[in-house]
């Protein structure tokens, strides 16, 4: 059983990893210096640090989105807006706290996290208690949220121009890695620890697979859904914090705009079913980095400004078709057929089919092309 499970996990990660590998190969073909790094201003600089830096908010949101998708069988489309609100709160609390120190930054961050959890609780209560469709429930904030952030901002986009917050969004002297990358790694570690030490993964999966069966086994589905939305709210707050310290300015209109779509896409690329059930957070994290690598690859290949969106969309469509259950099932069937032929020892007239069969297990998904 455990072997089967490990195998399932392996095939789930196969898709995002292979896509990432393809992208990296494309980048290497474009220029062999892709991985080269140098030290600038005491921090590592190069393509890889840039990718890790750029994807930090998306990675964090993708983690929360994975949990929500798994338990509630739907997506939260208000994560970007939630991040805009929590970061607005962060900025206001910080700017009104008198002097800016690590302590006041920490406290303001905690306040913004509390707001994020409250937003998650709001969405969660709609979904878990009132059984509203997740996308409809979160549409409320998606529509009204930026106005709320705008009011919190006092109708002006406030500026966070001081050394400490720009160190958080950039580099802390003496640390060779950009701070958002470190914060993201820390966040991933905390989540990993949380998942390992609690039953959350099991409970969320069972609720997502069959709510009634979960309830019969003593799991309260409403509670689990509510909890996952609160965790996503917290993720939004952390992402908002990173985004606003990076930007150095709170622009309620544009901060984290459209990020929810990328977060959902990251979950899907990670091989997770958007219809709930078993999930892999590692897959979503790789998915998030894949999206970042993809958009940077298109820039590196100097795809025309007008066509860059179309390229991105086409790439993602091809990817999703390859990953679709229909193609997967067909590939698996084809693979089984080839294997059974081999086992039966039926010798066909030429070695051509055998050659094809030999090459197949390595690339089952590509058989259709």
């Amino acid at each position: 059983m455990s072997i089967a499970k490990a195998k399932a996990q392996g095939t789930q990660l196969f898709l995002p990893l292979s896509v990432l590998a393809i992208l990296i190969v494309i980048n290497l073909i474009k220029g062999a210096d892709y991985f080269s790094m140098s030290v600038i201003n005491g921090a590592l600089y190069g393509n890889i640090p840039n990718i890790l830096f750029g994807a930090s908010e998306l990675v964090i949101l993708a983690i929360g989105m994975t949990l929500v998708s798994a338990s509630s069988r739907g997506q939260d489309i208000s994560v970007g807006v939630a991040g805009a609100i929590t970061s607005a709160v962060f900025v206001q609390v910080l700017l009104n706290s008198g002097n800016i120190t690590w302590l006041t930054i920490g406290l303001s961050f905690l306040v913004s996290c509390a707001v994020g959890i409250a937003i998650g609780a709001f969405n969660g209560s709609l979904v878990a208690i009132f059984k509203v469709q997740p996308m409809v429930a979160t549409l409320i904030l998606f529509t009204a949220g930026r106005s709320i952030a705008f009011m919190i901002d006092g109708k002006l986009s406030p500026v966070l121009a001081n050394d400490l917050t720009s160190q958080l969004g950039g580099v802390i002297p003496g640390v060779p890695i950009q701070t958002p990358i470190i914060l993201t790694v820390l966040f991933i570690a905390v989540v990993a620890l949380f998942i390992k030490t609690t039953n959350l993964k099991l409970y969320a999966e069972s609720v997502g697979i069959n709510e009634k069966a979960a309830r019969l086994n003593g799991i309260d589905p409403a509670k689990i859904k509510f909890l996952t939305y609160m965790i996503l709210g917290l993720c939004s707050a952390v992402a908002g914090f990173i985004a606003v310290t990076k930007a150095g300015r709170h622009d309620s209109v544009n901060i984290l705009k459209f990020v929810e779509m990328d977060a959902i896409l990251a979950v899907a690329i990670g091989g997770n079913a958007l219809s709930g059930g078993t999930f892999s957070i590692a897959g979503s994290i790789i998915g998030a980095y894949t999206i970042e690598v993809l958009s940077r690859t298109l820039l590196r290949l100097e795809v025309g400004t007008e066509t860059i969106k179309a390229f991105k969309a086409a790439f993602i469509i091809v990817l999703m078709i390859i990953a679709s259950p229909v193609v997967r099932a067909y590939a698996a069937k084809a693979l089984r057929w080839v294997r059974s032929r081999m086992h039966e020892g039926i010798v066909l007239d030429t070695g051509a089919l055998e050659a094809a069969a030999a090459s197949n297990p390595n690339a089952p998904a590509k058989k259709e092309e």
């Binding site: 600089y45 878990a128 500026v159 150095g248």
Partner: protein, 341 residues
Amino acid sequence: MKKQFRIIGVLCLLAMLALTPAVVFAAGAKEGAAKGGLIKVGIVNLPPEESGYRQANVEDMNVVFSKANGYDAKQTNTGDNSEQIAAAQGYIRDGVDYLLISAANASGWDNVLKSAKSAGVTVFLFDRLIQTDPSNFQAALVSDMAAEGNTAVNWLLSQGLSSYKVILIRGQLGSAAELGRSAAVLKARDAGKLSIVADGTGGDSWSLEEARKVVEAAITAGKDFNVIYAENDGMAQGAVQALAAAGITHGKNGKVKIIGFDFNRFALRNVQAGYWDCDIQCSPRQAAEISSWIKAKATGAALPSGIVYQKEIFVDTATITDDIIAKFGINADPGKGVVTK
């Protein structure tokens, strides 16, 4: 436990619901009926939370078209074109003297404009044009995006650099601002006056992060450039962040010249500190000029007609003053000497 849970959920919901109307209706406060002698004006505008530009625009309209200035004005703020049209029809029914429109969508206005005309209401468009016959409105006061672009390019070409290798960061492709501001650079390139090293966009949200990625891609590809031409301030900021992280000097005494648009106060402070080089105004304050037309009409002068362009200025590190920042800037002022890193 479960009950407790439910109560918490309901409380959260109520708290959020209580907040929502405050936000939704805060923008649309309306008051009182017309008094004798006041000029009745109906303003159909976009919501202030659309952008810093719009916030300044809405406020400017409220300040200029006030009772103190002899106006009985009402303003509707919505980003929905059909709601805007409904509001305009309402103003026409109310018998306003002037109707001012900044349309969410450039099409679909023909019928409203015609009914305004037959009701004897004078229509001015501000900030945004409408695709309609010019006879359907009196005049339109808008920014000349092409002129803004030319201002920037002329400033750049007067800097006496041995060559101009530009990273062009466009805004939302196809928008009036993007087309006008890009056109000047493309024209200068076609004339051989500058070269475009990288041509990117911040996308539909004029995104700081996307702009940063465009510059990072150029840096890691080892491209040589000495000008950043970003079509708004947020994208210029993202570009500068990419330069700073890569240790490339910029601004007054640096290698790369930084050009931004829109006159955000933080951007003007950056120019003042020599962190950036040049910023071009895109004025959201059309109300005073339209008001002067209306007042002039009362004294017998003719109203202007057709498209009228606003006069807009630019600043560089030599010409910027605190006065300009206070008077013409938009959004929050970070204070003198503060730069956004």
